[in-house]
């Protein structure tokens, strides 16, 4: 055959030679089919290929012109049924026959088919219809006339065969076979897409299915072919093909839910791939499909079902953010966490677990959005969204992807669409979707069972749990679930709600991404709800919301979330103040404010100031029932104030103190370490100080100002000016706020609920810290707060006493002198009394005692008392009271911690009045006899001399040793600036 060239060969392909050819063909086919030897099979197939003039060997062949090709086509049409059935049998035969055979059989198959069924040939044939019938009658029976009827029936039969081949070959283990299959699809799609319309479905299925083949070569080939097919616009020009595709889509959509239920992940994957492929091929034509209500309905329902989330996981609700009660350091950490995290939360679907499947579905939605009519799609899915809760989450998910796709982001398409959606349209659509998302009905959903009441309980429980070291966090929550009869449906619905919120939040992020800076305009309405969710107590929601914030931040071109909040705080403030007006929304509003405060800095203050007024007035209206929720905000607020303002000043503060110290110890402050101050001057200074202190203690305020001025004169420090000029200049905003808050706190100090009282005490402490530089404001407030605080200290729940004591310590730090009289009158006797009465209890108690509240209280009081005495600069009798009360705790019988605390009290007492302490301790136990230096002096008689060793001895001796050490150290180190705030002066008085 090869040796025959040119015209000669054509003579072989005349109708007259048909019977001979037929014999040859059938012989070869039989060989290929039945022969055992692989070589022979291959040779037979090869031969056959040459016979139909489709040889692919290297030698040069004369190319046939169209007429000749048509002739050949006519001729081989007769053999087509035989060849194709035989070949298909070969192809689908035993795998063991070797891939080479299959490959060449496939090749032969598509060559034959594409020769006979080529579109261009068939197109010409209809015109010159009657021409071939002039031949001899017998032969003409053999010659097939390829009219439309014939084409149709042949195509039907072929489609069956193709289906079989495709099914078989696409699962063939050898990649070359699959490669050949791709070739087949390519050839047939290219040449016979019209004649073999019915098989197109199968062909595409194979092609699309093989797009994600394991073998890279097959994959890339598939991509290439898909692209070329799409570029050829065969689909666009060929209605029939489009019909087939859309029909395909329809049936696929119908079957999808069923397949999703039954298939394994691999199967699901390929099914979805097929769907994606058809969509991509349809390209802009997809609108035709979408315009049909039935198709759209099917498709959307299928997506809805496939995307159904698994909401039975209990963990979602269980995971709580304990942040609000915690420190302010946490948010920045969580923010970074959010940045690092992948874009969205991992979702758990009911029907699949493979991430790839989800991304495939995402692609499907995006491609839909890319090509489809956005209005139509959005409208439809919004309909589904509002139709039923069942679809809501899925619809939202689809909508998010649709919009992303419509903007042309993250889509992988085969052909460009003609018209991109304009930004205006997108914005309009997004605005309406967002409106729906953040509608109260879809946004404020129950995500946890704790209503206000139970949450109160829980938190109290929680705080109690925390009081015990190592208390489990989540245990209290789980236990609260169990008693209810059947928690699962509620958990399910709450889970579903949580997911819905998360998906909507992700949607917001997507939309921001899509719109970029254009999104800034929408922030007015969106930022508040998002921030509201960022403060949500459900971990998943708050994390997602934070992620969304980060997305929005990037999209709108802000550097950081903080920047975002600062730049848009006016919108937030607006939302907060409006929501505060509605009682039901107040908790949310306060949450947003909290979140805002947490994520922001001092520059926010002017705006916040305005809304704080709203908060306070709202609080004034609802003292009874809402106090606790507002207190959360107030505590965040003042904590933020402390962070913003006091930290800065706090750094300067020690310095300031230092200066004061310096000025009081060494009045001429030239040279720090070089000048040794004469003792006499020091005594003088001490006395002067003492007089001043005394004046102040008597409530002589002018004296204090005098002192301030005096201090101010040599060091015109800015912060000193601040305090000095207090009277005239208006209060800085933060101090004003703190003052207002403190005023409210005073009223709330005697609230019925313990929780509120505790919270108030916390807030109070912060307020005091903020105000500590504004003494003129703080002192009157302290005066007003005092009676209520005393009540807390004297008779209240131990927890409250504990906190109140902490407040007292803070207060003492800032306005020590002011409190001295009151403390010694109102509080000290009680405290000392309770310490004394508790002492025997703790002395007797076992190891468990250290976990009780009583113990904590004792410990706290003892730990605080010392510094309190020092700060308040208590008088002698009070100091004695303190010493008496604490003495019992020096007993070796007391728990070690209490002993330590008691020792610390004495250490502080040493600072205040070393001599008295020395004397006091020596009364208990005196280690050494003291010889008078001169016989004319009386012999020293101390109560502790010569006593037996008692329970106190160890501690007292330790303390005395410490005292001794300090004395000597101070004595020697004096010139180099004593480290203690009040160095023990006048040590010579001892002797």
């Amino acid at each position: 055959m090869h040796s025959a060239y040119g015209d000669i060969i054509l003579t072989l392909y005349q109708p007259s030679t048909l019977p001979h050819l037929g014999f040859a063909v059938s012989l070869l086919l039989a060989l290929a089919e039945q022969e055992k030897a692989k070589q022979i099979k291959l040779a037979a197939l090869k031969c056959l290929q040459v016979l139909i003039l489709q040889c692919d060997c290297q030698e040069h062949h004369r190319l046939l012109d169209t007429v000749e090709t048509r002739q050949c086509g006519n001729l081989f049409a007769s053999f087509l049924p035989g060849i194709s059935t035989a070949l298909s049998r070969v192809i689908t035969g035993d795998i063991k026959q070797g891939h080479m055979v299959t490959v060449s059989a496939i090749r032969l198959f598509y060559h034959t088919v594409s020769l006979v069924m080529a579109d261009e040939q068939l197109a010409t044939i209809t015109k010159d219809e009657e021409k071939p019938s002039v031949e001899q009658s017998r032969l003409s029976e053999l010659v097939v006339h390829r009219g439309p009827d014939w084409v149709k029936s042949t195509a039907d039969k072929l489609s069956l065969l193709i289906h079989k081949i495709v099914e078989f070959a696409s699962l063939h283990p050898h990649w070359k076979v699959r490669m050949e299959l791709v070739e087949l699809v390519h050839h047939l799609m290219l040449k016979c897409s019209q004649s073999l319309v019915e098989s197109v479905g199968h062909l595409l299925k194979a092609l699309v299915g093989l797009v994600n083949d394991e073998s890279n070569e097959v994959q890339s080939k598939c991509h290439e072919i898909l692209r070329s097919i799409a570029e050829l616009r065969t689909v666009a020009e060929n209605r029939a093909l489009a019909d087939v595709l859309s029909e395909n889509l329809h049936s696929l959509a119908t079957a999808l839910p069923r397949l999703m239920n039954s298939q394994d992940d691999q199967g699901k994957f390929s099914t979805l791939n097929l769907l994606l492929g058809s969509l991509k091929l349809l390209g802009p034509e997809v609108n035709i499909v979408l315009n049909s209500a039935a198709h759209l309905q099917r498709l959307s329902k299928a997506l809805m079902q496939v995307l159904e989330l698994d909401v039975s996981d209990v963990k979602i609700i269980e995971e709580r953010r304990w942040g609000p009660a915690g420190s302010l350091g946490e948010p920045s950490g969580s923010l970074q966490h959010g940045l690092r995290e992948s874009k969205c939360q991992k979702k758990y679907f009911r029907f699949f677990i493979d991430e790839r499947i989800f991304s495939l579905i995402q692609q499907i939605c995006r491609v839909l959005g890319y090509y489809g009519n956005l209005y139509l799609l959005v409208d439809h899915f919004m309909g589904l969204y509002s139709e039923s809760v069942v679809y809501r989450k899925q619809a939202a998910m689809v909508l998010n992807e649709l919009i992303t796709g419509a903007a042309g982001l993250g889509v992988d398409v085969l052909q460009e669409r003609e018209t991109a959606v304009s930004t205006e349209d997108l914005k309009g659509t997004i605005t309406s979707i967002l409106e729906e998302y953040i509608d109260q009905a879809n946004w404020s959903l129950t995500t946890s069972i704790d209503t206000e009441g139970t949450s109160d309980e829980l938190t109290v429980k929680h705080s109690r749990a925390r009081a015990i070291p190592g208390g489990a966090h989540s245990s209290s929550l789980i236990s609260s679930f169990s008693p209810s009869s059947d928690p699962s449906p509620t958990i399910r619905s709450m889970n579903s709600n949580i997911w819905q919120i998360c998906i909507q939040l992700e949607g917001v992020g997507c939309f921001a991404y899509v719109l970029g800076k254009e999104f800034r305009l929408l922030l007015a309405s969106v930022l508040y709800p998002v921030l509201e969710k960022a403060g949500d107590s459900t971990l998943l929601i708050s994390q997602t919301a934070i992620g969304t914030m980060v997305d929005v931040c990037h999209a709108c071109g802000y550097d950081s979330v903080q920047n975002l909040i600062n730049a848009n705080s006016d919108y937030l403030v607006n939302g907060i103040s409006l929501n505060l007006r509605r009682v039901a929304h107040q908790p949310h509003a306060s949450r947003v404010l909290e979140a805002m405060l947490r994520h922001s800095d001092a520059s926010l203050l002017p705006l916040v100031e305005d809304v704080i007024r709203d908060v306070l007035s709202a609080l004034d209206q609802f003292y009874d029932d809402r106090a606790s929720s507002f207190l959360g905000v107030l505590s965040t607020l003042v904590a933020a104030l402390v962070q913003w303002f006091v930290v800065v000043k706090g750094k300067e503060h020690p310095q300031e103190q230092n200066l004061e110290q310096q000025s009081s110890t060494s009045s001429q402050k030239q040279g720090k370490g070089s000048v040794i101050t004469p003792m006499g001057q020091e005594v003088e200074q001490f006395l002067l100080d003492y007089i001043k202190q005394k004046q102040i203690a008597e409530g002589n305020l002018p004296a204090m100002e005098e002192q301030e001025e005096e201090v101010q004169a040599p060091h015109p420090e800015p912060e000193m000016n601040d305090t000095g000029a207090e009277g005239e200049t208006p209060l800085p905003a933060h101090a004003q706020i703190a003052k207002d808050v403190m005023e409210r706190c005073i009223h709330l100090l005697s609230d019925k609920s313990l929780r509120v009282r505790l919270k108030v005490l916390d807030v109070l402490e912060f307020c005091v810290t903020v105000l500590h530089l504004h003494e003129n404001q703080l002192l009157p407030m302290a005066h007003r707060a005092w009676p209520a605080l005393v009540t807390r200290l004297i008779n209240d729940d131990p927890l409250a006493v504990l906190r109140a004591f902490k407040v007292l310590c803070t207060l003492a730090e800032t306005c020590g002198d002011f409190l001295r009289r009151r403390f010694s009158r109102d509080v000290l006797p009680k405290l000392a009394g309770s310490l004394v009465t508790q002492a025997p209890v703790s002395a007797r108690a076992g190891p468990v005692y250290s976990h009780t509240l009583a113990f904590k209280l004792q410990l706290a009081v003892l730990q605080g008392l010392g510094s309190l005495c020092e700060k308040l600069d208590l008088g002698e009798s009070d100091l004695n009271k303190v010493a008496d009360a604490c003495l019992i705790y020096l007993s070796a019988k007391q728990p070690v911690k209490l002993q330590e605390a008691a020792r610390s009290v004495f250490l502080h007492l040493m600072c205040v009045d070393p001599d008295a302490t020395w004397l006091f301790l020596n009364e208990i136990c005196c280690p050494l006899p003291y010889e008078p230096p001169h016989p004319s002096l009386h012999a020293v008689k101390l109560g502790g001399m010569g006593r037996q060793r008692t329970e106190f001895t160890d501690n007292v001796l330790g303390l005395l040793g410490e005292l001794q050490r300090r004395e000597t150290a101070a004595f020697h180190a004096r010139p180099q600036e004593a480290p203690e705030p009040h160095p023990p002066s006048l040590p010579e008085a001892l002797g």
């Binding site: 006016d570 607006n574 007006r581 305005d610 007035s617």
Partner: protein
């Protein structure tokens, strides 16, 4: 059960002082967004972008003295402002400029706001309090020539003018001026003759504000008492009291009738904004948001009725923007409203 009154659509913050006057300008084509002008007691004029809800420009031209009247003239790029520094300034805002191009010195030191009326393309009349205490001067803009000076006869003694309203029965005809005086009377002036056409004593206390509906030829005035008076003008150009509406709390700082003449808003000293149906003065709603005296109310003139807004400025430094009764469908949701088609 009545629904709770709505919340403001949004609140504008940041004037930093009491808001004395408000004026909407919603004209212009699509890329132009509606703006709201506000004048505050620290002498600043804020130009608010109602789309972003933020300040676009801040104008400072009254030397820190309270600004109590602002109005846009020549579209959005020019505006007139009147301040307590006895100056009426014409601002040029085009292309990002913000300069005072012209100003008129008023010799009056009262609180009376001016009134502006467009009489022809490029011509305005502006009524402003005159040199003498009880005098009103009418200028023609932009030429600033005095058209007439309206001074009541010596024996009338109405006191100072408190509020002014220029109006024209129909375009092109002779304009009239309605002025509310210190003694509680409202006087109708004929500008061409400079004569009093009618005088109506409708309040015991000074008239704080008035507005007039030239279609129905009836107007409304509020004073520092707790009544709102509606009066009408008959064919003989006589003012007659039509109805008085009792209020709970005294003091109406401002009244405004919406452009479609359907509702009326009042700014109360009791921190509240009240909405009435204009036809029968039926109380429709009380908008309670502000925490201090409301100084002024203003309706927007947006071309789309659904986007028409109400703004109120208050002593508490805030401007509240309300979206009320601007959709026909909303009438169904709002039991307070029983609007009849007219």
């Amino acid at each position: 059960m009545a629904l709770p009154p709505p919340d403001p659509q949004f609140v504008l913050r940041g004037t930093g002082a009491e808001v004395q006057t408000l004026h909407f300008y919603c004209g212009g084509q699509e890329p132009d967004y509606p703006i709201l002008l506000s004048g505050s007691s620290n002498g600043l004029i804020h130009v608010w972008n109602l789309k972003t809800r933020r300040v676009d420009t801040i104008l400072d031209g009254h030397g820190g003295k309270s600004v109590y009247w602002v109005e846009a003239i020549y579209g959005r790029d020019r505006l007139l402002s009147q301040g307590r520094n006895q100056k009426i300034c014409l601002w040029d805002l085009a292309e990002g400029r913000n300069t005072v191009t012209d100003s008129v010195f008023t010799e009056n030191v009262g609180f009376c706001k001016c009134s502006l009326l467009k009489v022809a393309q490029g011509h305005w009349l502006m009524a402003m309090p005159g040199k003498d205490l009880d005098e009103v001067q009418v200028l023609e803009l932009p030429s600033k020539t005095s058209v007439c000076t309206l001074k009541p006869e010596a024996d009338a003694k109405p006191g100072m003018p408190m509020c002014l309203k220029l109006w024209q029965p129909d375009f092109g005809s002779c304009p009239f001026l309605l002025a509310g005086y210190e003694d509680g009377s409202v006087i109708l002036w004929n500008l061409s003759g400079g004569k009093i056409l009618s005088r109506l004593v409708c309040h015991q206390e000074p008239v704080m504000s008035l507005d007039f509906d030239s279609e129905k030829t009836k107007g409304v005035s509020g004073s520092s008492e707790e009544v709102l008076t509606v009066w009408s003008l008959d064919e003989q150009q006589n003012l007659k009291v039509q109805k008085t509406q009792k209020l709970v709390n005294a003091g109406i700082a401002d009244v405004a009738i919406r452009q479609d003449k359907k509702i009326l808003a009042t700014a109360g000293w009791d921190h509240r904004i009240r909405i009435f149906g204009w036809k029968k003065l039926k109380p429709l709603a009380i908008l309670d948001y502000h925490t201090a005296t409301v100084h002024c109310v203003s309706f927007s003139d947006h071309s789309r009725p659904s986007e028409r807004l109400l703004a109120a400025g208050s002593k508490d430094h805030r401007i509240s923007i309300w979206s009320i009764y601007n959709q026909t469908s909303e009438a169904l949701h709002c039991p307070l409203e029983t609007r009849k088609p007219n």
